[in-house]
């Protein structure tokens, strides 16, 4: 591998990463956004290498948006190191699945519902807008840190980027976030229901409990056909018709 004389500034790529899904489409998924974010890291390449590298960067790509930086940094480093185009394409393809599943587990099924559950519980306990502000602040400390780490780790490891995926902090975070999320959202559900149903008379509170139970069974039983939106619209329409008739 040829030594890289100077690391390009990662800041421009990081800023562009925040908009990596801006042109999300069913043909290349995140590909165009990935190409846009990678482009500042490729500007030091020779004329003959720059354009093919930019074109490769915009090919099909899909992963968790917060971890895409890992692939971008690694691909850019590989381009600077003179790796073969086939090898870079294969590395990108190989990263899609792991980056997607790791990000989904850490963020969509861990960090986000954990903090959302804590915020819901705090609002129900009287935390008000401060709880919501704290949610935004703490969430984004983790969000920005993860994006920055991913980009740096990708650039550092290049084609050996799979090493970064086994970082002990990621493994430990994955193990801790699952139980913490389950506990926090478990506590938030009854507290939120209580907050919303407190102004109701006793019969309406029982009606909430029974209706929610029936809806829950339906969602578990026919989750392939029914989702929260359809269910909400369906029973709201039913309640509206009954409410209009029951004067």
């Amino acid at each position: 591998m040829a030594a890289v004389k100077r690391r390009p500034s990662l800041a421009a790529a990081l800023l562009r990463l925040f908009a990596v899904q801006g042109s999300y489409n069913y043909e290349r998924l995140l590909g165009v956004g990935v190409g846009v974010a990678e482009e500042p890291l490729l500007r030091d390449l020779d004329d003959g290498k720059y354009r093919p590298a930019v074109a490769r960067g915009a090919h099909f790509f899909n992963a968790h948006p917060y971890l895409v930086g890992l692939a971008i940094g690694a691909a850019a480093r590989a381009e600077h190191d003179g790796a073969a185009p086939d090898q870079i394409e294969r590395m990108r393809e190989a990263l899609c699945g792991p980056l997607g599943s790791l990000g989904d587990r850490l963020v969509w099924a861990g960090w986000l519902p954990l903090l959302s559950g804590l915020a819901l519980a705090a609002v129900a306990l009287g935390g008000g807008w401060i709880a919501v502000g704290a949610f935004l602040l703490v969430y984004n400390i983790g969000h920005v840190a993860l994006r920055w780490w991913a980009l740096q780790a990708g650039w550092t490891h290049g084609t050996r980027v799979s090493v970064a995926l086994h970082h002990p902090v990621l493994q430990k975070a994955g193990a801790l976030l699952g139980p913490a999320m389950a506990f926090a959202v478990g506590a938030a559900l009854p507290l939120s229901a209580s907050l919303l149903a407190v102004p109701f008379p006793r019969w309406a509170q029982w009606a909430v409990l029974l209706t929610a139970g029936a809806c829950f069974v339906l969602l578990r039983w026919r989750g392939d056909r029914v989702n929260g939106l359809r269910l909400g619209l369906g029973i709201s329409a039913l309640a509206l018709v009954v409410g209009l008739l029951w004067q």
Binding site: G35, P52, V132, G228, V242
Partner: protein, 228 residues
């Protein structure tokens, strides 16, 4: 809903920002209903209503795991419209009507996301030769075009939501008895709690985390009873 024009513009701007945050830029979670609702409430000078509708749609949001190219409703601008509706109608009537307007807006928002992705696909397909040439200007143009289209889409969803909010009170509020209004609120809260519970259980699975979920649920029930 008769709001001064400056408040309507502020809600439109906020709904657009929230809609863009969901997927495009910067995914900092202002699109979460709890945040979208609280700020919409603050714009209207009615944070408690914003928080309540935010809680309803935050629970509904648990039903969604945005993995891959999955299709889902859009609850951010929907929550803004729901808060605008609820602000105009006090108490349980506001909760029920707000949730109904928000659900319809969320459905519409989800459809527009799918349409936008199809439009983006056609544009990317048409630009394939320029993208394959490695022209950075063409790449940025295609990408920024996608961002701008998403901003227009989010603004359209918010406008539709605010129009529904404006129509809801004259069309429905007068026709509903207090019992009817209560039924609508019961339906909204029940659907939210059920969707939140079912969605969380899907995340938790049947492994060891289920015990943590049960412990949290028990603690939450105890706290809710104690607070009463």
């Amino acid at each position: 809903m008769n709001l001064p024009i400056e408040l309507l513009i502020a809600l439109l701007v906020w709904g657009t920002l929230v809609g863009v945050d969901l997927v495009s830029l910067p995914q900092m979670m202002i699109a979460r209903p709890l945040v979208a609702g609280t700020v919409a409430g603050a714009i209207l000078g009615d944070i408690p209503t914003g928080l309540k509708l935010g809680v309803v749609f935050e629970l509904l949001q648990y039903d969604i795991l945005p993995v891959g190219a999955v299709r889902y409703p859009e609850y951010g601008p929907a929550t803004v419209a729901a808060v605008a509706t609820a602000h105009a109608s006090a108490g349980v009537l506001g909760l029920g009507l707000g949730a109904l307007v928000g659900l319809v807006t969320g459905l519409f928002g989800g459809v527009t996301i799918n349409v936008l992705r199809r439009v983006n696909s056609r544009i990317v397909h048409a630009a394939a030769a320029r993208l394959e040439s490695g022209d950075p200007a063409a790449l940025v143009r295609v990408h920024v075009g996608g961002l701008l289209r998403d901003a227009l889409r989010a603004a359209l969803v918010t406008i539709v939501g605010l129009v529904l909010a404006w129509l809801a009170r004259p069309l429905l509020a007068g026709a509903l008895s207090p019992r009817g209004a209560l039924l609508l609120a019961v339906a909204a809260v029940a659907a939210a709690v059920a969707a939140g519970s079912a969605g969380t259980l899907r995340l938790v699975g049947r492994g060891p985390n289920l015990a943590w979920f049960a412990a949290g649920l028990g603690g939450g029930v105890a706290a809710a009873i104690w607070l009463r």
